[in-house]
């Protein structure tokens, strides 16, 4: 049976703005799709635009639990800390009628800023308007306002993200499913030059549970894919690195990936 490469992540793994992106089907030119081609694996991508780390772990686990007989290799590119995954009261525009991704951009009073950033992309602006309407009808908008105003903070977000990473890691280990993790941005582990695990013994304890032997990073201080692409001045679309960055990133992590992929 052919092995399946199951990829989880946010827009960087979905491949938004890549040359074959149509917004519906995951790109075949993303870093993870290119790694799947290296090994002739069947490529399954459960990445979703804007999703946070709880959502990435949830979607990967969901696929694994529904496909217990498949021979799977998992890749995950973990995303930004400040994104939340929440099972809302049911609504037909939510993922699976239940799940919402909540980001700082879902708060109100963003209009001027968004218009300016997306002014060159009419489709993205349209998508933004549609999303704004949905946040009103689902309750995500008011919830985002309350969440970011009163409750959201870096400590809790690191705690949640790391807990989800460890949760998935331990499930994969238990089920003997091989995997490789990487990250989009080192704010997952760092506050500028300060390591987040130095915050207190709880975060340090969680950090020590993460098996970094199965991780690939893009430079010093656990640099992420997006930071690496900015540092090396790869061409970008409206907000994302384009095909060349993905091709070079796949080349950069290929050796470690193949080592983990071929491990028994």
């Amino acid at each position: 049976m052919n092995r399946t490469l199951l990829a989880g992540g946010c827009s960087f793994t979905f491949g938004h703005e890549l040359s074959d992106d149509n917004g519906k089907i995951p790109s075949s030119k993303s870093w993870s799709a290119l790694l799947a081609k290296e090994t002739n694996a069947e490529y399954v991508c459960v990445a979703k635009a804007g999703i946070g780390n709880s959502g990435i772990a949830r979607k990967l686990f969901s696929y694994i639990s529904l496909n217990p007989d498949k021979d799977i290799f998992v890749t995950a590119m973990w995303s930004f800390l400040s994104r939340y995954d929440w099972a809302m009261p049911r609504h037909n525009v939510l993922e699976g009628t239940r799940w919402a991704t909540i980001t700082p951009w879902d708060t109100s009073d963003n209009q001027a800023e968004v218009q300016k950033t997306l002014s060159n992309s009419e489709p993205q602006l349209e998508e933004w308007k549609r999303r704004r309407e949905n946040t009103k009808s689902t309750g995500v908008g008011p919830f985002a306002d309350a969440l970011y105003r009163h409750a959201a903070n870096q400590y809790h977000e690191a705690y949640l993200s790391w807990k989800n990473i460890i949760w998935l890691q331990n499930i994969l280990e238990k089920k003997k499913i091989p995997y490789m993790f990487t990250l989009a941005d080192n704010s997952l582990f760092w506050d500028e030059l300060k390591p987040l695990n130095a915050s207190d013994s709880l975060l340090n304890g969680l950090y020590n549970e993460i098996d970094f032997n199965k991780w690939v990073v893009f430079g010093e201080r656990q640099m992420g894919f997006n930071q690496w692409s900015l540092l090396n001045e790869y061409p970008r679309g409206t907000t994302h690195p384009l095909d060349a960055a993905h091709a070079d990133a796949a080349g950069l992590i290929k050796d470690k990936f193949l080592k983990l992929y071929n491990q028994q």
Binding site: S11, W105, L118
Partner: protein
């Protein structure tokens, strides 16, 4: 007597802190809906 003024100043201070925090978060994660 100046309670209402203190409360107003506190409200403005909290609002400014919130907006600053939100601005920093958006700078760190500039991906508007993707």
């Amino acid at each position: 007597m100046l309670g209402w003024l203190k409360s107003l100043i506190n409200k403005i201070r909290l609002e400014r802190q919130y907006r600053k925090r939100l601005k920093e978060l958006k700078k760190k994660d500039p991906f508007i809906y993707k």
